[in-house]
Amino acid sequence: MHEFFFRYYLICLSLPAKFVLPKYLLSCMKLQLTFLLLLVSSSLFAQPERWQQRVTYSMQIDMDVRTHRYIGTQQVVYWNNSPDTLHHVFWHLYFNAFQPHSMLAEAAIDNGYFDAEEYARVNNLRAEEQGWVRIDSLKMNGRALRFETNETILEVPLAEPIPPHSKVLFEMQWETQVPVLIRRAGRNNIEGIDYTMGQWYPKLCEYDYQGWHSNQYLGGEFYGVWGDYDVTINIDKDYIVAAGGYLQNPLEIGYGYENQGDKVERKPINGKLRWHFLAPNVHDFMWCADTQYKHEKLQASDNTTMHFFYVPTSSIESLGALQIDQQQNWKRLPKIMDRVRTLANFNFGKYPYKEYAFIQGGDFGMEYPMATTLKSRLSFETFVEVAVHEQMHSWYQMILGSNESLYPWMDEGFTTWAEQLIMKQLVAEKLVNGHGGNVVMSYANYEMNVANQRQEPMCTHSDHYRQSGTYTANAYSKGAITLHQLGYIIGEEHLAKGMLQYFEAWKFKHPNPNDFFRVMEQVSKLELDWYKEDWIYATKTIDYAVDKVKKNADKSQSTLIVRRIGDMAMPLDIVVYPRSGDPQVFYIPLESMRGSKPAESNHQRTILKDHRWVDRQILITLPYGRDEISRIVIDPSGRMADLNRKNNTWNGKAGKTRS
C-alpha cells in the first residue's frame, strides 16, 4: 500500500523542514560500492527451525465481462507442516467486504480513516456494483464439507481433522461478482482500467506458530501461505491480461508476450481466450485486464523480464502546478526500473523471480508478488517513487512476508527505508529530479505524531489503532526511522550487511521482530533487545541536550554536560568542532549494547565510558578549553529521532576566536 504514505507526504510538504537532510544519506549511496564484499552467506548464522504451511493452487476462471462476474474452481493441495491437528480451516473472501455495512465500511467510518469517505461508498453500492464471493461447493479429499460464509472469512469445520505433517486436497467451486473499485481491487478504476483483480479469489488463511490468522478484511493488511499457483483465465478475446506470474501460452495469446518473430495463433473459444499463468513460491496472485492495454517488455540487467502495461493517452494534463503526461511517465519508467532493480539486488538481496509486471490499475500503488498496480496520473517523480516503493515490497512483503497486521513496520517501514535510499541514488544519478528520498518526512511525521500526543506502541495490531494516522506514522515513518536510527546505533556498514543477511536468512519464512533484531545483533555483535523493547513495545521518546560547557581549572580542558531529557536512552555521537583543527567525535556507547559501533567517519574518535540508561546526566572532559570550541553537536547526522534538536547544539561565543 502506498496511499497512506503519499497522503501523509502531501500533508508534510507544507511543514517547514525541521532539520537539514542528514548527510549520511549521501554516504549511504556509496553503500553499493562497499557492499560487494559484504555478502555473507546465511549459513554462518543459525536460525530457529520454524515450521510453515505450504499450498498449491490450481484455479480455472471463466469471466463474463458483461455481468462482471466469473465462475471459478480451485484445487488446493494443503500441507499441514505444523505439529498441530487442524480441526478447521479458513479462507479469505475479500470481495465480500464490498457490501453495505461490512466491517470494512464500519471500521473505516469509525476510525476516521483518511479514506473514510471512499470506504463509506460501500454502504451505497447498488447490487450490481457490490462485490461478492459465493461458495457453491467445497470438498476435502473428495468429501463434501460444511462451511459458513462469515463476511470476508469462510469458516470450515472439518469433518475429519488434518493431522500434523500431512496433506489434503480441497476442491472448491464458487461464483464471484467484481465490485466497482473502492479500494485496491475491482472494476473501472479512476483511470478507466477495466479490471484490477487483487484479492479476487478464495485464499487460504495462514496458520503459524501464532495460530490461525483469519482476520476479517478491513482494507488493511495481508498475510498468506507460500505456494505455487497455476491459474487459467478465460476472458473475452478483446481483453489483454497482465498478471504476477509467468504466461505459459504466449503463442496462443500474443499481445507482446511472444518473443520477437514468434508466430502467434489465437484460438478463441466462444469468443474467449484462455490465459495460463504459473507463479511459483508466492503467497498471492494478482491479475488485471483491459482492452486498451499497451504492453512493453524489457530484459533487465539482471536478466529478468519486466513488463509494463498501460493505456496510452496523448493528452497532457495540468494538476495544479504540475504538468502530467501519463504516457511519458510510462515511457520513461522501464530504464529507471532497470536501474532500481540493480540497486535493489545489490543492496537488499537478489530478486528471486524471473519476471515482474508494472500494471496500470488500482487506486494508487499496491504491491503483489511479481507485480504492482499503479496509478499514473501523477508527476513523474511521484510516479517513480511509487513504482520504487511497490517494487521494494517484493523484498519485505513478498519474500520476507512478515505478518503485516502485527508488524506493519517490518513491511511498510523497511520498504519506505529502501525506497528512500534508492530515490536518493536516482536523484544523484540524475535519473529523476527532486530532493530524492523523504527521510526528513519520516522524521517529521513521527515527531508530529508524538507532538499531537497520538502515539500508540508499534506493537499495536494494524486493525486496532485508535487513530489511523498513528498507524501510518508507525508503519511507514517510525518504521523507516527504525532502520535509519539502527544505522546510527550499529553503524551504516553493519546495517547494510545486516539487511542483506536478514533477507538471506529469513526469505520465505515470515520473520518476526525478534528474528530481525537477532540477525542485527549477530552482525553488529551488540545487544539490541533494549532498542526493540523501548522503541517497538513502548512509546518512549528520545531527547538529549547539551546542557553546559564549563571551564575547567586546567585551561586546556573543559567539561561538557549532556542531559538526557527523554525516557529512552541512546548511544551518543557528539562532534566537537574546535575553532581551529579538525572536528573530533566523542562516542558514548549505551551500556545496554555491551560494545561499540565501528567508527563511521575519518574524524578522530574517542570512545568514552558507557552511558548507563539510568543516568540523566553525562559529564565529559573535553581536551579543549571552552574558548577554543566553536560548536558542539549531538548526532549531527540527524539519524537519532531526537525530539528537540534545538538543544543538541552548543555554539561558542562569537568574537572570542583566538587568532
Partner: protein, 625 residues
Amino acid sequence: MKIRLSLLFLLAGSTLFAQADRWQQRISYLMNIDMDVSKHQYQGAQKVVYSNNSPDTLYQVFWHLYFNAFKPGSMMDVRSRNIADPDRRVGSRIAALKPEEQGFIKVKTLKMNGKDQVFETNETILEVNLSQPILPYSTATFEMNWDAQVPKQIRRSGRDNAEGISYSMAQWYPKMCEYDYQGWHSNPYVGREFYGVWGDFDVRISIDEKFVVAAGGYLQNPLEVGSGYENPGDKVEKKVRDGKMQWHFIAPNVHDFVWAADPDYLHDKIKADDGTIMHFFYQKRDEKDKERGLVYEKAWKKLPSVMNRARTFMNTNFGKYPYQEYYFIQGGDGGMEYPMATLITGKSDLDDLIGVSVHEQLHTWYQMLLGSNESLYAWMDEGFTSWAETLTLEQLAKEGLMEEREVSKNPFKDDYRGYRKLHLSGKAEPMSTHADHYQTNRAYSTNAYVKGAVMANQLGYIVGDEVLMRGMRRYFETWKFKHPNPNDFIRILEKESGLELDWYKEEWVNTLNIIDYGIVGVNENASDTCTVVIQKSGLMAMPVEVMLTLKDGSQHLYYAPLESMRGLKPAETSVPRTVLPDHRWVDNLIFFDAPFPKAQIRKIEIDPTQRLADMDMADNVWEQE
C-alpha cells in the same frame, strides 16, 4: 467458587498436545562457600558446567553479580533516586551505605576448560569475552573464585533485616545469565526481575557453628548439622571445624538457589499430604515484644497446617508441585519467591502470613517452574501468581482457615479497581513494556500484578471458567521448565477452548485500549417484546453477556460471542442462554430482542459475574423504575 469442585478429573496429559520445539541452555553449579560472619564476607568458588544447546556459537558469556548493585552511584541507586515514585525500601538508602555496609562481588579468577579468561566487571554484570567460542551443542566448564561482601539489607537480600534476621542470602552468588531465542539477557540489576538457566545446584556453606541455615534445596548432611533437619530419633553428631559447620545442599532442576542463616531460627517441619516436606524457619519470640510476639509465634505455629491445605489445593488446580521440599523462611523485606523456598517477613498476624506465604509459594508455579522472562512479561509471573493466590485464599477462607478474611462475592474486585484507577490517572503504559523501563513503579506494579490477574480472570469470562482452569493446567504441563512467552500461553488457551484468542493478547497486552459497554436503551415493542440496546464505547471489543431478570425472579442470559473468537464458550450456568449473532468488533451497537414485555423486566445487567474489565460500570445495569 464452583469451579474447583469440577476440576479434579480434568488433568489432561500434556503428551496429547504438540508444543513448540524450543532449545534451552542447561547448567550445573558446584559451589563452596566459606563465610566470615565477623566481616559479613565470604569466599566463594564455583564450578559451572554449561551446555550450549542453542544453534548459535557463543563468543561471550555473562554472569549476574547482584550484590554490586548495593553501592552508592550504582544503576539501582540512580534509578531509585530518579524515578518519580521510588520503592520505599530503597529510596536513597543505597547512596548512604558506608563501605562496610555495601555489597560487592569481586571475581578473582575465571577459567574455561582450564584456561584463564579475560573478564570485566561492569557493575552487576560480569562480561567475559571467551578465549574460545562455545560451539552449538557443546559443553564448557567454568571455574571461578570470588570474594563477596553481604550488604546491609536494602532490598530482598542482605544482612540484618528489619526483623533482625542475620542473613537473607538471595541474589548472592555469580549467576550465569540466560541465553535464549531472544539472545543474551544480561540486564543490569536495578532491583527488579529475574530470569535464569535451569540446572542442578550443589552448594556447600561453611558458617559459624552458632548459625542455623535454611535453603531452597535438600540438605545432604542432616546428621552433621541437626537443627531439626534430622528425623526424630536420629543421632546427630555436629561436625565443627575451626568453629564452623558445613551445610551441604543440593537442588535439582531449579534456576536459582537461596539460603538464609540466623542463630535464633526455630525450625518446624511437616510432611504434607502430597508427601513433600515443608520447613518453617522463624525467629524465637523476642522477650521484649511480649504481646505481639505471641501473635507472631501463634501465627507461625498455625501456618503449617494451612499451607498443607493450600498445597493440596494448588496441586489440584494449578498442577503438581514437582520438588520434594519447600521452605518458608523468615527473612528478606516482605515476601520474595525462590525455588523451593520463600523469604518472608515474619512479624505478621495469621492472615497476612498466610497471604504472603500463599502468594510466594504460588510463584513456584509461574516463576520457578514455568519461568517466563519476568522482565519482558512480568504479568505472566506476578499476574498469574496473584490470580492463583486469590483463588487459593478464597478457598482457605471458605474452609474457615483464615482468621478474618471472609468469602467475597467478587474476590478480584480490588484488582479491577486498581486497573481502572491507573488507567484513569493517565499513567498507564502498555503491558508489553520491559519491567525495568516503566516510567513509574506504579504503572509497572499495576500492570504486573493487577492487570495481570485481571488478564487471567477475564479470560475465564471469555472462554469459561472451567476451560480456563483446564487451560491453566495444560499450560503448566506443556510449558513447565521451558520459559513460555505470551504466544505460548495464548496458544494453549486457544487449543483448550477451541476459540481464537489472538485479539485478546494483541489488545489487552500490547495496547492501552479499554473496554466499555453500557445499556443505552430498553425499548418496548408492539408485540410484547422489548429490544435491549448495548453500546460499545471503548475501542476494545469483548464478547458480551447480559443477564435479564424478570419480576418473577426468573433469569435469562443473552450471549453475543465476539466475531474474532470464531466460536463460543460453553454455557457456564444452568440459566437458559440465548446465543446472539456474533458481535463484530467494529460495531458500536448491539441490539437484541427479549420475548418479554418491558414491564415484566426487573433488571438487566451486563456481566453480573464482573469478570469483564469494563472501564465505566455505571451504565452496566438497568433497573425497572
